[in-house]
């Protein structure tokens, strides 16, 4: 009996030794995996969605813009304003490193820079259209921290080139297996913290639970912040690549 018990203990130890490293890897994925999973936590590979953007400035009434958007892959996005009426038809297109703006009053497509701000809020064009960070940044796992009450991975993201909107991003992603992004701090080359993004309000939308509110707080203009709230999301619709071309911008809604 003792021999049988001893054999059982040995088998358990061997089994643990075999399994432990594997389960250790599963518990602590590498930085690239965390970032990739976080990139997909809000929107799928391609998506169609509606958004409400609320711009808040100290001592000023809040201003709301509603829009619908489409995303394909990591670097193609199109957003059209649907409200307020005076802005209806204004559209932004991102394809690769290129961003265009359609001005309905002039019926004209104008090229704009990716780093330029989006619609008068605190998000840049790159923030809106590059919801995926894996393409632009090299991630490093820099530890674990509790942020906004959540146990998180802390990732240090370093821009791959100077074209990218921010030189460095510190990114916190939930450790509970959901890989929901929680917070991001954006820094310039000189190390200045430009703004911070808070990602919150996970709830069922478009068939799965996901964060639905993104709040960008300016660190330059005190009290200035902009909220982006997803109203509807459809994951993986069939989208023609030609939707993401300047010609499609001109055609209007």
């Amino acid at each position: 009996m003792p021999r049988a018990a001893s054999r059982l203990r040995r088998s358990a130890l061997v089994a643990f030794a075999l399994v432990a490293p594997a389960s250790g890897r599963a518990a602590e994925p590498d930085a690239a995996t965390i970032l990739r999973r976080a990139d997909r936590a809000v929107l799928g590979e391609s998506a169609a969605y509606t958004l409400r953007m609320t711009v808040l400035r100290p001592n000023k009434p809040e201003r709301i813009v509603e829009m619908k958007g489409w995303k394909k892959g990591e670097d193609q996005g199109l957003v059209r304003y649907t409200a307020p009426a005076k802005e209806r038809g204004t559209a932004y297109l991102r394809s690769g490193e290129n961003t265009w703006l359609f001005l309905p009053s002039a019926e004209k497509v104008v090229r704009v820079g990716a780093k330029q701000n989006f619609g008068g809020g605190d998000f840049s064009n790159a923030d809106i259209f590059r919801l995926s960070l894996i393409k632009d940044y090299d991630p490093t796992l820099a530890g674990q921290e509790t942020v906004e009450g959540q146990d998180c991975y802390r990732l240090e993201l370093k821009a791959r080139d100077r074209q990218v909107a921010y030189d460095r991003v510190v990114y916190w992603v939930r450790r509970d297996g959901t890989f929901y992004p929680v917070r991001a701090d954006y820094y310039t080359l000189s190390g200045k913290n430009l703004k911070s993004l808070l990602v919150s309000q996970p709830k069922p939308l478009g068939g799965r639970t996901r964060p639905t509110l993104m709040t960008m707080e300016s660190r330059v203009d005190e009290g200035a912040h902009t909220r982006l709230e997803f109203l509807t999301i459809q994951d993986d619709p069939r989208l023609d690549e030609r939707l993401f071309s300047p010609g499609a911008l001109e055609r209007g809604e």
Partner: protein, 418 residues
């Protein structure tokens, strides 16, 4: 009596409006529109007139403060790939020689897209191509922009346009267009012959650079070859260059065997709610100092003959016609009278702003003249906007803008959207 071209244009509009109204009525009954937007607008433009080389002894018959008032209507409806647009106004002018009430269709077209690949648009429409902000030397299909305020809404041309996008990075546009319209926002009328144009624009995205080739030509239209480029620099600045090469001048006198080049090059930078633009324009057929002197002495001669009592009335009338045609040159089809121009603008405000501000300046580098246009906008609600622009014409007395019969302007616009 309006020129022949104008009569044919108005005939086209007479057909166009009932067709659009019918399609609107049938649409509203037959389908539940996916999106619909109605727009009601009031526009009031007031000018300060002056006698000048282009308005000798107030030959244009302008009061001190001529102007115009407009009631504008806009309608846009989409259903799937179908879209119909109407934009027009009823206008009353005052303080001019022949005050009149008239209606003008700015745009009225129907459009259909088959998926993302092929689109057809028929009717009076803006073409609005070219990367240039204040000047578009590759676009000779539409009436020119108002030289005194390039931000005003432009009138379209009667056209049929076919878009074909075989790939996301390549597209082709073919347009057949006709127009005789001149800028209508001024108290001085400039008439133009009807231009019939066929044009083709092929656009590509090559290594993150927009590249477009343009070819156009037709009746009363110079054959033109154009190149249009645009890209951004480090994500922070958008730069563009647009060039048109054509044979024969558009500005009088006709120089039929000479090739001319027009080039626009500029940059756009936005920072927060601010947008800054700077653009240089080279107008190859523009007058040199000697050309201006010849043009002005030609006007002198024509005016002298028109007011010479020793000449028979028919000859006086003919001379007056020559004078009027020469005096209208800066407002007719050309993009500018001289060779070198600079456009600089600053605008503040975005989708979420209640107040917007703008300051635009077009500086004639050849003569030191300047058209300065500050403007403010106020949007107390998301569907209501007020805009007020002022136009100041500055510079030496002999500069292009100071020769104008208009000394300055105030332009107010109110827009209500449903």
């Amino acid at each position: 009596m309006p020129p022949r071209g104008a009569r044919s244009q108005r005939r086209g509009e007479r057909i166009l409006v009932p067709v659009l109204l019918l399609s609107f009525l049938s649409l509203t009954r037959a389908v539940c529109a996916q999106t619909r937007q109605l727009e009601l607008g009031l526009e009031g433009f007031g000018y300060e007139s002056q006698t000048s080389v282009l308005n000798r002894e107030n030959v244009l018959g302008l009061d001190d403060h001529p102007g115009l008032g407009r009631l504008a209507l806009g309608w846009r409806e989409t259903h799937g790939g179908f879209r119909a647009v109407f934009r027009g106004y009823v206008e009353r002018t005052w303080g001019t020689e022949q005050d009149e009430t008239r209606w003008v269709v700015r745009q009225g077209y129907a459009q259909y897209w088959w998926g993302e690949g092929v689109g057809l648009r028929v009717g009076k429409q803006r073409v609005a191509w070219g990367s240039g902000l204040a000047w578009n030397p590759t676009n000779r299909l539409e009436p020119p922009k108002n030289a005194l305020n390039t931000a005003l809404e432009q009138e379209g041309a009667l056209a049929a346009r076919l878009d074909w996008a075989p790939r996301p990075w390549a597209s082709l546009i073919v347009v057949g267009a006709t127009t005789d319209a001149a800028p209508r926002d001024l108290p001085v009328a400039a008439s133009a012959d009807t231009r019939r144009t066929a044009a083709l624009r092929a656009r590509f995205l090559v290594k993150d650079t927009d590249v477009a080739f343009v070819a156009s030509g037709g009746r009363n239209q110079r054959t033109l070859f154009g190149l249009d480029l645009g890209r951004d620099v480090r994500g922070a600045l958008a730069v563009h260059a647009e060039a048109g090469l054509y044979r024969g001048s558009e500005i009088l006198p006709p120089r039929d065997d000479t090739w001319f080049l027009r080039v626009v090059a500029g940059a756009l930078k936005t920072r927060g709610d601010d947008a800054f633009a700077l653009e240089y324009f080279y107008n190859g057929e523009g007058y040199s100092d000697a050309g201006v002197a010849a043009w002005l002495s030609g006007l002198d001669r024509a005016w002298g003959a028109a007011t010479n009592p020793a000449l028979p009335p028919a000859q006086q009338q003919q001379a007056l016609g020559v004078y009027a045609a020469g005096a209208a040159i800066p407002y007719a089809w050309g993009l500018g009278l001289r060779r070198h121009y600079l456009h600089a603008s600053w605008t503040r405000g975005g989708a979420t702003s209640v107040w917007t501000g703008a300051l635009r300046a077009v500086v004639g580098l050849s003569d030191g003249g300047c058209a300065l246009t500050p403007g403010i906008g106020y949007a107390p609600r998301g569907n209501l906007t007020f805009n007020l622009d002022a136009v100041f014409l500055l510079g030496p007395a002999t500069s292009e803008y100071r020769l104008s019969p208009v000394r300055g302007a105030l332009q107010a616009r109110v827009k209500l959207l449903f």
